[in-house]
Each structure stands twice: as C-alpha cells, then as structure tokens.
Amino acid sequence: MAREARAALSPLRMPLTGVQALPLAPRHGVMLAVFLAISAGVAQAQAAPAAPSIILTMLKWTPLLAQGFALNIAMSFLAMAIGTVFGFALGLGQISLLAPLRAGARLITQFFRNSPWLVLLFYCMLLLPFEVRIGNSIVALPGWAKATFGLALPVMANVAELVRGAVQSIPSGQWEAAESLAFTRLATLRMIILPQCIKRMTPPWMNLYAILTVATPLTSIVGVSEAMTLTGDILSSEGRTELLVPMYLYLLMLFFVYCYPIARATAALERRFAVR
C-alpha cells in the first residue's frame, strides 16, 4: 500500500490525475448495475401504466447510443494519436540544446497546459476553417475533425510534459556513460534514454487516455453528434421525465464500463514497473 501511495505522489505521475487508480473490483460495476436497475425500477413505478417500460425503452435506443459512443471512442483514439506524436516532438524540443527551441517548446507547452479544454474546443470549432484547399481540391473539415484536433492540443501539451519529466528522471550517470562511450547525443537519446523512458511513461500516458475519453462528451457542447448529444436527443424525443435519471445513468455506465478496464490495466502496469 505504501508503495502505491508513493507512486501516487511521484512527480512523474500524470499531473492530471495525480493519483493512482486503486484496483477496481467487479463489485463496483455490480453496484452501479444494481443502482441502475433500482432507479429504472423506481422510474418505472412512477411512469404511467400504459407507457412502455423503461428498460425496454433503454434497450430500444441502445444501438443508436452505441453508434454515438463509437464516435467518442474514435475521436479519443485520433486525438490521442495526434497529440502523442506532436507531444513527443514538443517534449524533445524542451530538452534541446538550442536555447530558442527549448524556450519556444516550453512556451507552447505551458500555454496549452494552462488552457481549459472547452475553450480550446470552442476556439478550434469556431476559428478553424470549415474547408481547406489542398492543391486543387477543396476538402471539407467536418465538425468532429475540428473537435478532435481541439482535443489533441491539450493532449499534446501533457504528453510533452510527460516526455520531459521522463527524460529528466533518467539518472545523469546514463548520459555520462553514453558520452564516455562516444555516443552522439542523438544516438544516446535513441538507444539509451528513450527506451528507458517509454516504460516509465506508459502508465501516466494510459491515464491521460482515460481522461481524454471522459472529456470527449465536451464536444457535444460544440455540436458534435456523439453519445452525449444523442442522449439529449433521445430524451427530448421521448419527452418523459422519468427517463432522465435512468438514461443519464446508462450513459455514465457506458463510459464506466469502457474506462474501468483501462484504469485496472494502468494500475497493474504501474505496480509492475515500480517493482523493478
């Protein structure tokens, strides 16, 4: 327990959560399911006898909801990929030997780390063009693409911090040994420093992905038609107040079921790497 506690406070921990997901037991999922069933039951009791049952209604809308959720997942994958690639470059820029590059990278990182995710989303949605001219053709930029880019920006900044922290946590002796073996700086980074960093960066990186996933509903505010928007649409089309609690709990459950295995895996990985 003490080791997990220490892991929770280590400076390399993903700053966003700062804490370790303690291992979830399936009982938490069971408890949520029980709560869901009870609330559905209560709602059912309140509903008019002739109205179709809550459970059936929820099941009816499940395919649509799943489609919307798929968009959430797709956006999270894409934003994570883009953010990681650029974040890596930015992170390496922060440890560059060229002072202007270092300062510039640091500035960009701090700027995007200090911006609220929703404001960045708005910025991208409203100020990025809705179509882009590439060569001779005009490519339309759909809303979800701009939103994904907007989500990739804070991910990029956080990955940059992760990379910088990981590289700086490698003991200086490794750099000295590589230098005295006549490795160039680039070769040292490539063969000695970065391979050691990847392991330490993986749990916080997975944590960042979980945070990104639960941030994707923000895109509903800027008009992307994902699970959150669809839930709202479903509720307004059904027009029954007793459906509100079960439907939102259903949506919460959907995210929980996706994120819980990730949290579990992250915790297991963290324990394994801490032992070494």
Partner: protein, 248 residues
Amino acid sequence: MTWTPDQPLIRMRDVHKSFGAVPVLNGISLEVMKGEVICIIGPSGAGKSTLIRCINALVPIDSGSILVEGRELHDPRLDKLALRRKVGMVFQQYNLFPHRTALDNIMMAPIHVLRRDRASVETQARALLRKVGLEGKEKFYPGELSGGQQQRVAIARSLAMQPDVMLFDEVTAALDPETVKEVLATIRALARDGMTCVIVTHEMGFAREVADRIYFTDRGVIVEHGPPAQFFAHCRDPRTRQFLSQIL
C-alpha cells in the same frame, strides 16, 4: 604534431577549473606515459573526480592544457567523439544501461559508434566477459547482477572500444568489501597486460601494489607524487602525512 610513445600519453599542465564561484582544480599538472598505471588519492572534495573527468572532456577546463596523445583538449574544435574512442572510463555507479543485457551493453558502442560488424563485435564481447570472469552471464540484465558483477561488465564495456587509456573513478567505492576484491583483480589483470590506467581510489593496498606512481591531491592541487615504495614510506609534505595517517 603526431604523437609517439616516447612522449607522455596524457599531459596536464596547470589545469584550472571552477564550478561557478567554487574553484575545484587549482593548477593540476601531471604526466602519464604509455603503459603506466597511476593512482590518484586524496581526501573527498579534493577534485579527483573532476580531474579524471577532464581527461575525457566530460568536464571542460577553464584554463591550462591537457594533451591526450598529442591532441589538445582545451580547444573548441576538439573532436570529442574521437577522443572518447581512445579514452575509456569506468564510473563509481557503474552506469550500465538497465534495459539491455550484459552482452548488449558491451556490444552497443562498437556496433553503433565504431560501426564494426556484429559478428566480430560479439566474439570480442564474449571474450571480454570471459576475461572479467563473467562467462555465462551474457543474457543477464544489470538488475540481476551484483554490484561487483555490474562493475566488471562496465569495465568490459569500456574495453570493447579498445581504448588506449582507461580511467577509473573510485570504481570500488559503492561495492561491498567481498565484491571489491573481484573488481580489483580485474583491474590488476588489465594493468599487467600493459593497459595505461589512471585510477582514482581509496584502496591504499591496491594502489601500493599496482601503481607505477601515486599522486596525492588536496584542494585542487597535486601535493606530492612518486613511486609507491617511496611515497608511502618517505612522504615529505605534512598534508600527505596527515592524510595517510588517517586512513592507514
């Protein structure tokens, strides 16, 4: 100026180095001939680690001159990589690469820096492991080896570059007394084989046995130096005497 073996392999003249406002090296001068083994002793904080790190340009000097095989180190155009192919270094904290096996650690630099072919490097690496007494430990990771074993792998790793001179920075200071012996035996064998060695150490017995000359530093200057027999028995400077009386 081409270097020939009758000239000193390493020649330091009046080397000064300060870290910020703190002077660490205050005019160091010494010479090492090819095949010589010299030991540097002295109290902590005397600048021994800094001194040895200047020889392979890990630490740049403020003023003075260091010639290694005729090439001046105090020169902005110095080819550091070429220098470090000739000068090998072993550290107190071993600094093995933890994510690679012992054999990989030894093979990495010759393959990627010297660009030699893998097969010949592997043969040499296995031979080196045998030489330091670690045959059978090729596939072990540093984390699975004891301190003494790791240090011997570190020595083998530096030897793989086939340097002309080896620097040892208090390589037994972080080891248990039992494992100290194995590492010292390895260094002794190296010295006997004719490798030029500059050894910073606290092990007086070892220094007395293996060194051709002993240098005593204190507060950034070489106080006294000489062959071990003369040094230990008839040291002249009171500082030397005080240091030796404290540790012997």
